[in-house]
């Protein structure tokens, strides 16, 4: 390319520019289509509904009362985990789930904004007081994962770490026989 003056040079410059602009637009459209395709065909989708709950009354009634927290085996073979975050711990602090099973995580915060992040997975959600967070997960392998709070929640934030223990499906089934709420706290 040489620096050209006059009408011809301006035309060449404009043509080149337009070509590049087209390439840029194609790149962007491709990215959006890719994201849309992944969204439709993969399991990771944002939660569809906005649900609210009163953090001041969590302990009194409703699904987040203490006796209902932990892992519940549902009649259809899936599993539901209910948990809350509060300054500076999760309840239950160790979440027990079976491998190779669809798991629904339902969680909320009792005070400020917290977050749940399960290391080694893409399970990652905010806990905003007043709202219920729902995530669908599935763990292929047994093992332990750390579960830190991922949002600053005041001076004890650095100490807010939970754990997720993934155990064998049959072992989980035998422990779930009495239909209680399971956790791995103290194990």
């Amino acid at each position: 390319m040489t620096v050209q003056d006059g009408h011809h040079g301006a035309e060449v410059a404009e043509r080149t520019e337009k070509r590049w602009a087209m390439i840029s637009i194609i790149i962007i459209v491709m990215l959006v289509l890719l994201a849309a395709f992944a969204g439709i065909h993969q399991a990771t989708m944002p939660q569809a509904r906005v649900e609210t709950t009163d953090p001041a009354r969590l302990h009194l009634s409703g699904e987040f009362v203490e006796s209902n927290l932990g892992t519940a085996a549902e009649a259809d073979g899936t599993v539901t985990v209910r948990a809350i975050g509060q300054q500076y711990s999760f309840t239950p602090s160790c979440i027990l789930v079976p491998a190779q099973t669809p798991v629904t995580l339902r969680a909320t915060s009792a005070d400020v904004v917290h977050g749940i992040l399960i290391q080694g997975t893409n399970v990652n959600t905010m806990l905003v007081p007043g709202y219920v967070s729902e995530q669908f997960m599935r763990f292929e392998k047994t093992g332990d994962h750390l579960m830190p709070c991922q949002e600053f929640c005041s001076f004890g934030h650095e100490g807010m770490w939970g754990k997720v223990k993934v155990i064998d499906k049959t072992e989980f089934a035998s422990r779930a026989k009495n239909r209680g709420r399971l956790s791995c706290v103290g194990e």
Partner: protein, 540 residues
């Protein structure tokens, strides 16, 4: 024709002084939470420091750079004296007052809520009022930019507005509108609670308001950098700007699409529905367009400089570029870091990929790479380029400036690359310490140590930068001549009215924000059951 040099220097010095202090805090934070240091005895100090670091780096430093640079552009590109100098000083002193008012409660540990506020955590009211004053001070600047352009237009009817000023005014409008999100959150939600008039707050709505500001503010930070790419770099390296109109289009695109994309910051939030998350994700992809256009135009402009210097062949023009010129070095470094940072941004923009990195150290690494890397390195370049015109003295030694830029570039890579990596490993953000003895965390120890070393390199570079600027004031006087901006290969003689005015684009900016934010905000604001009790920080 830089008349109000004192005003511009005051803005730059306050900006860079604050930057130096915040950089010191940042380096200290990197050090104490790394394996190089035993556990911090009082984690609360860490969050104090983090609040100060974020507030100064996010709100005070870039705002002052944009303002000082904006005044310099007004006087030199429009070649007219700044109208409203007293107001400009009033804006400056409001920022000083606001910054001090905000930092006192932070220093006392009464407002360790971090610069993102995130209620229902509530700190001392003076902190929030101080931040509001900083924003109000900057809004005076926005008004002055608009007024000065109007004065110029009256005397030059129909002439194309110089690109530097066109971009500068676009940046000021972008800031005025993006600050509205956080302003609504502060004035309607947080400050009434901080003052004790109310005791409950909708934490979800607050996060949506804040996301309106939080993403577009990055493009406000970016504006001086992009203005420097288009209007300083080609002139400083002896080239020409490839296309004046493409520059205008890029700045207009930033104005329109920077705002209606912020909900990607709330991908993992329960209070926003899936539909608006997808819309904002798609719009976020769109914001890559002005950057892709800019990369082309600036590379082409730099190539022109290389060819004019006798460079031949496909890549021969690169070798002959004036690499000893700090501006050349800065733009090259900035582009490399922008490339990596931009690629990371494209990852964050997708809901599916974001779930693996959301609120991990990846995100901190990402925005330090974009802001500290691509953006701030051009702030250095702007200062080096303007300083002789402001002080009437040449820079002491270009070797020092080059060393400073190299240190910053290397420091940024050493800091942010391992930072991204530990984010992929799942290390959460904003923690005062980590238990590296835990077998699940110990693999991250080496990367965190590297990052901390990078932070020390950055600190040395930042101090060197301040040293260069300070010693420049004591050099022998020289005549730097008029401050000029790049000339386009085909300088515009007439410009379509759409590329010379803002009315249509500002209307589109507001309209798109209303369509993309109006519904989520209206739904949350009208729900009666979403307010939760405030949790006061530092009140114990």
């Amino acid at each position: 024709m830089l008349v109000n040099r004192k005003l511009i220097l005051a803005h730059f010095w306050l900006a860079f002084g604050g930057f130096g202090l915040a950089l010191l805090l940042g380096a200290w934070q990197m050090f104490v939470r790394s394996p190089l240091y035993a556990w911090i005895s009082n984690p609360e100090w860490y969050y104090r420091s983090l609040t100060a670091h974020g507030t100064v780096m996010g709100y005070v430093f870039p705002t002052l750079v944009a303002m000082g640079f904006g005044y310099a552009i007004t006087e030199s590109a429009l070649q007219q004296r700044l109208v409203g100098v007293r107001w400009a000083w009033a804006g400056f002193w409001l920022i000083v007052l606001g910054a001090v008012m905000a930092m006192v409660p932070v220093a006392l540990g009464r407002a360790s809520v971090l610069y993102t506020f995130y209620p229902p955590l509530i700190g001392n009211a003076f902190y929030y009022v101080g931040v509001v004053l900083v924003v109000v001070g900057s809004w005076i600047w926005v008004a002055l930019m608009s007024i000065n352009l109007r004065v110029w237009r009256r005397e030059h009817p129909g002439e194309p507005v110089p690109l530097a000023m066109f971009a500068n005014v676009a940046g000021s409008y972008l800031w005025a509108w993006t600050a509205v999100g956080a302003a609504l959150e502060l004035l309607l939600q947080i400050i009434p609670v901080a003052l004790g008039w109310k005791t409950t707050i909708d934490a979800g709505l607050a996060r949506v308001f804040f996301s309106w500001t939080l993403h577009a503010i990055v493009y406000f930070w970016l504006m001086p950098t992009y203005i420097a790419y288009y209007t300083i770099v080609p002139r400083a390296i002896g080239g020409r700007l490839y296309s004046d109109s493409m520059g205008r289009i890029a700045f207009i695109l930033f104005l329109i699409v920077a705002m209606p994309i912020g909900i990607h910051h709330t991908f993992a939030d329960p209070q926003v529905g899936a539909g608006f998350k997808f819309i904002h994700s798609a719009f976020t992809a769109l914001v890559a367009l002005p950057t892709l256009l800019t990369v082309f135009t600036i590379c082409a402009s730099v190539e022109i400089a290389g060819r004019l210097r006798g460079g031949r062949g496909l890549f021969g023009w690169i070798a002959v570029l004036p690499w000893k010129n700090p501006i050349m070095l800065a733009v090259a470094f900035s582009f490399v870091l922008l490339g990596f940072g931009g690629a990371g941004g494209l990852i964050n923009m997708s809901y599916q990929l974001d779930t693996t990195v959301h609120n991990t150290q990846w995100i901190t690494g990402h925005f330090h790479l974009i802001f500290g890397g691509a953006i701030v390195i051009m702030y250095f370049a702007i200062a080096y380029d303007l300083w002789p015109h402001l002080t009437g003295r040449a820079l002491p030694d270009l070797r020092l400036a080059r060393a400073q830029l190299w240190l910053w570039f290397v420091g940024m890579i050493v800091t942010t690359f391992p930072w991204h990596w530990v984010g992929i490993l799942g290390m959460p953000r904003r923690m005062a310490y980590y238990d590296y003895a835990d077998p699940a965390i110990s693999p991250q120890a080496f990367s965190v140590t590297l990052s901390a070393i990078g932070a020390i390199i950055l600190l040395i570079s930042g101090l060197l930068f301040l040293f260069i600027l300070a010693t420049a004031h004591r050099q022998t006087a020289t005549e730097a001549g008029a401050y000029r901006f790049s000339v386009a290969v085909h300088p515009p003689t007439t410009v379509p009215i759409a590329l010379n005015t803002f009315a249509l684009w500002v209307a589109l900016m507001i309209g798109l924000t209303v369509t993309n934010y109006g519904y989520p905000i209206a739904v949350l604001a009208s729900r009666p059951d979403t307010s939760v009790p405030a949790v006061y920080v530092g009140a114990q």
